[in-house]
Amino acid sequence: MSEVRVLIVDDSSVMRKIVERSLRQAGLESLVAYEASNGADALEALKNGSVDLILTDINMPSMDGLEFLSRLRSQNLAPGVPVVLITTEGSLDRVKQGIEAGAQHFIHKPFSVEQLRDRVLPLLKTA
């Protein structure tokens, strides 16, 4: 697979590193990772460059993942780029809000490399 640019949005720097490492283990060896610690930083990053995939947490300070998704679509940033929610969120209503706002999938933390492989890689093939 050619170079894949992924934006990882999470307020935990450790979790961003884990997601990056897990994606590589899932088969994206040619991954180029960009990081943001909240939705506002992620929007700024997308104004400065395009990506092929976005993975975002929901519960973050400053701007949470749902608000980020809403602004992503309203500002027409990253059109057609698949978004996956990675979250400890237990409320299916909140997850449903994320899906309705444009996310393609959600993955619960903790997650396995296999879960990432099964849910993320097919999105890249169809994007």
Binding site: D11, S12, S13, V14, M15, K17, I18, R21, N59, P61, T88, E89, G90, S91, L92, D93, H108, K109, P110, F111, S112
Partner: protein
């Protein structure tokens, strides 16, 4: 108009008091995110003892229908080892990254424990983690209705997880 009626957690949600749910949550987090086989230990005091190099404590608040906290505690060397396993990085001391990692472990344990009870998952929110590290500090908890504490370990690493909960608040119609 409704009124708030406190109910006993043990009666309404027995899963909260079941240590197997906490064991399963811890085992899920450690197997999936750290790649280690983590088991419950017999003695909590081993995991709670004050290490010479200090301890690291992470707290996640439980809000919404359930009021309480999930507390993760380990020695500084254990914290360094845990976050090293999780990230593949080497640490010589408890720095911001190690604290961030312990907070994230606590967050995932709290989330996995809560999500094992679907009737609570939708109505119980988690706070962002607060992490304290160092020597000679005390963590004061209010007198909660229920407290579940277990110690876990793998290799030489020991840590404890505590779930402390107040009464479940449920809105019921007021009798006339």
């Amino acid at each position: 108009m409704g009124c708030t009626v406190p109910q006993s957690l043990r009666d309404t949600h027995p899963g909260i008091c079941d240590p197997k749910n906490l064991d399963a949550a811890v085992e899920d987090v450690f197997s999936m995110m750290l790649g280690v086989d983590c088991k419950r230990m017999a003695d909590v005091s081993d995991a709670e003892s004050e290490a010479e190099q200090g301890t690291v404590t992470a707290v996640i608040g439980l809000g919404g229908v359930l009021s309480g906290a999930c507390i993760f505690r380990c020695s500084a060397p254990a914290a360094i080892k845990l976050v090293g396993c999780m990230t593949g990085m080497n640490f010589s001391q408890v720095d911001r990254t190690v604290e961030d990692g312990i907070g994230e472990i606590c967050n995932m344990v709290a989330g996995a424990w809560r999500n094992r009870m679907p009737e609570l998952a939708a109505q119980c929110g988690l706070s962002v983690p607060a992490v304290v590290s160092g020597c000679g500090y005390n963590l004061h908890l209010q007198a909660f209705e229920f407290q579940l504490q277990s110690a876990y370990g793998f290799e030489e690493v020991r840590f404890s997880v505590t779930i402390a909960c107040g009464g479940l608040q449920q809105s019921k119609p007021r009798k006339k």
